[in-house]
Symmetry: C2
Subunit: 379 residues, 2 copies
């Protein structure tokens, strides 16, 4: 067939599609109007928005009537009902406690006399993160995440600095668990480029062995391989630097940050020995007191859903409707449950924007185990 | 207003909705028919399915015509177009190399004379995972993930056993990176309950100090706190047991698995000292040779999307249409890119099911950086 003939056929079908859309769209808008009426009646009667039984009946009917397109039609209707539920929630102006929080929380971070607590030892990457986020903080160091939370809870520190991604100290969910348990807020975040160096004691240049955290070793695996070095594991990159400085083992260097090398008086033999593809470690700043800065640009939420597929795509649709972009999503099975999941989401946005506040308040009312973790500036 | 009056009003609106749906659904089905015609024409003409310009034009028009419902209408249409694109891809029977893989790969795992390589030391949880998955494997141990891959690549071992969740050794993405780099397959998975014990040398019952990996310590933080123990960090729980057995430090116990205690001849002073809420660590079995067992029930994929919100919910919709449940989702920014993400997904399913194979082949053709990581039995 000629190219022209294909194009003629294509535009004929497309005209048909446009004709269908001319009828389909007004029907959808009519349906949305009906949803608003339902919302008004439910509001007056004090009936909840979600009527799972009625939704299931509609889905079953649609699936049956659509025959071979059953799955597609059910997906379409599930989307339509999510949109109309969203509209109803928007009209109900829910999320009472969240609305109060948005009104009452501080709108700027404390900047002077900041006392912060880091997980790790001086020279660790969390140390660098704290210095990137705060101008001249008074710093203390704790060895476990829980101790960081306890130090903030006791009032000994205003803020805690904890790694949440690509970190040697554990996975993001453990930090989120603690934030939820302590009812703290994320009030800031900062990405730190992981740059490892080879550091040893003065006069110890012929290096045969390197010592570091297993992740430090694997992040420098190309360099280690090229130079035929043997490896020793240690609990922490900065602690490895401290060990090398104190014990002065023969022919041994630490793999650590430059700050750690400096902190423990080691000579930097070689900078930037990490593999090329390595990326950043992200740290969050946590606080007992809510702060919702005017210039915040990231929102962290946590909630649960019974089944990932259907329900998750309906929730994500809501973000899409508001033009908000997700920047992180992570699922995690709820311990002891069958196929129920907690989700950790970060998305771009500011809670002082009315539309965004409405969306989060609606989700707050709709979703089980919903927690607003914070709205902050990503540095 | 009376309850009866509310119900009368509600059912009036619902009748209106049902009336609208009676017109809306046939239009949607007509539209799907048109999509099939488009698919046929495109197939004959060798034109790709996605026409981003035409889709954007439709979205813009719909958004404009829908006025105050612009966002909702655009979301609806974006869903409709995803469904119709899915249908077109299904008709095109794409995914050539994946279809070949599904035909040619082994359909059962090697069961006798299995040689497996674990990350860690004897007594580590990966050791237990290997014994749970294989009947009587010949085992070797390597200290880094990369060495595990190298051992499999060289043919020294048939399978590798690596932790991918809740693990001390790093995050799931590092294992996925290596699987992609080595072009290996996930051929099995097993969840191991983390059960820590307090283990010391004989005659060393008055314990003041515990030594373990930082995550082992934090997983037992309640016990440690209740008994006022001081803590020392070590690179690995099983290595901590080995250290205690060799150095016999006074008043010091290791926090490790029972297997590790046994392996290094320590006395178990107390079992099950982990905090209540602790869950499982998941291990995957990797192989250079593809295996797609008849009874496989989980599929792992990795792909990239330009924007999470819109595109992700369209992809998830496709899984929903096929009735497949996601069991894991994780996003990860692509290093060096702006707002582009890689996604790691696990979902229930068997690639030998024609519908499922069609879906994966369609995604294979549609999504950038798509990788099929494996279809295996979750033990």
């Amino acid at each position: 067939m000629e190219k022209q003939e294909f194009e003629r056929q294509l535009s004929a079908v497309r005209e048909e599609i446009d004709r269908i859309d001319k009828q389909l769209l007004p029907l959808f808008l009519e349906r949305m109007n009906c949803s608003e009426k339902v919302a008004e009646i439910k509001q007056q009667a004090g009936i909840p928005v979600l009527n799972a039984k009625r939704e299931q009946e509609i889905l079953d009917r649609v699936r049956e009537e659509a025959g071979g397109y059953g799955g597609s039609a059910a997906a379409l209707y599930s989307a339509i009902m999510a949109v109309s539920r969203a509209r109803q929630h928007q009209m109900l102006v829910g999320g009472g406690e969240l609305r109060r929080l948005e009104q009452t929380a501080d709108r700027s971070m404390k900047q002077s006399d900041v006392r912060a607590v880091c997980q790790g030892v001086p020279g660790a990457y969390s140390h660098r993160a704290a210095l990137r986020f705060f101008e001249a903080p008074e710093l203390v160091f704790r060895s476990t995440w829980k101790e960081v939370f306890e130090t903030v809870k006791s009032g000994e520190a205003d803020f805690g600095v904890l790694p949440v991604e690509n970190s040697a100290a554990g996975s993001v969910s453990a930090v989120y668990d603690l934030i939820l348990r302590y009812r703290f807020y994320i009030v800031g975040a900062v990405g730190i480029k992981v740059e490892h160096c080879l550091a040893a004691c003065r006069g110890n240049a012929d290096i045969k062995t390197v010592i570091s955290h297993p992740q430090g070793l694997s992040q420098c695996s190309d360099y280690i391989e090229q130079h035929g070095l043997s490896t020793v594991e240690y609990s922490n990159t900065a602690a490895a630097a401290k060990f090398v400085a104190q014990e002065r083992p023969d022919g041994t260097a630490a793999i650590c940050s430059e700050e750690a090398a400096e902190e423990y008086g080691l000579i930097v033999l070689k900078k930037g020995i990490q593999n090329a593809a390595n990326n950043k470690t992200r740290f969050v700043i946590i606080s007992q007191k809510p702060v919702l800065p005017e210039n915040a640009d990231k929102i962290s939420l946590c909630f649960s859903l019974p089944h990932i597929t259907g329900s998750l795509y309906n929730v994500l649709e809501r973000f899409a409707i508001h033009g908000l972009n997700l920047t992180k999503i992570e699922s995690r099975p709820i311990p002891g449950s069958n196929f129920e999941y907690d989700f950790y989401l970060d998305f771009s946005g500011n809670i002082h924007t009315p539309d965004t506040l409405d969306l989060i308040c609606a989700l707050h009312d709709e979703l089980p185990r919903f927690s607003f973790l914070g709205n902050y500036r990503e540095a």
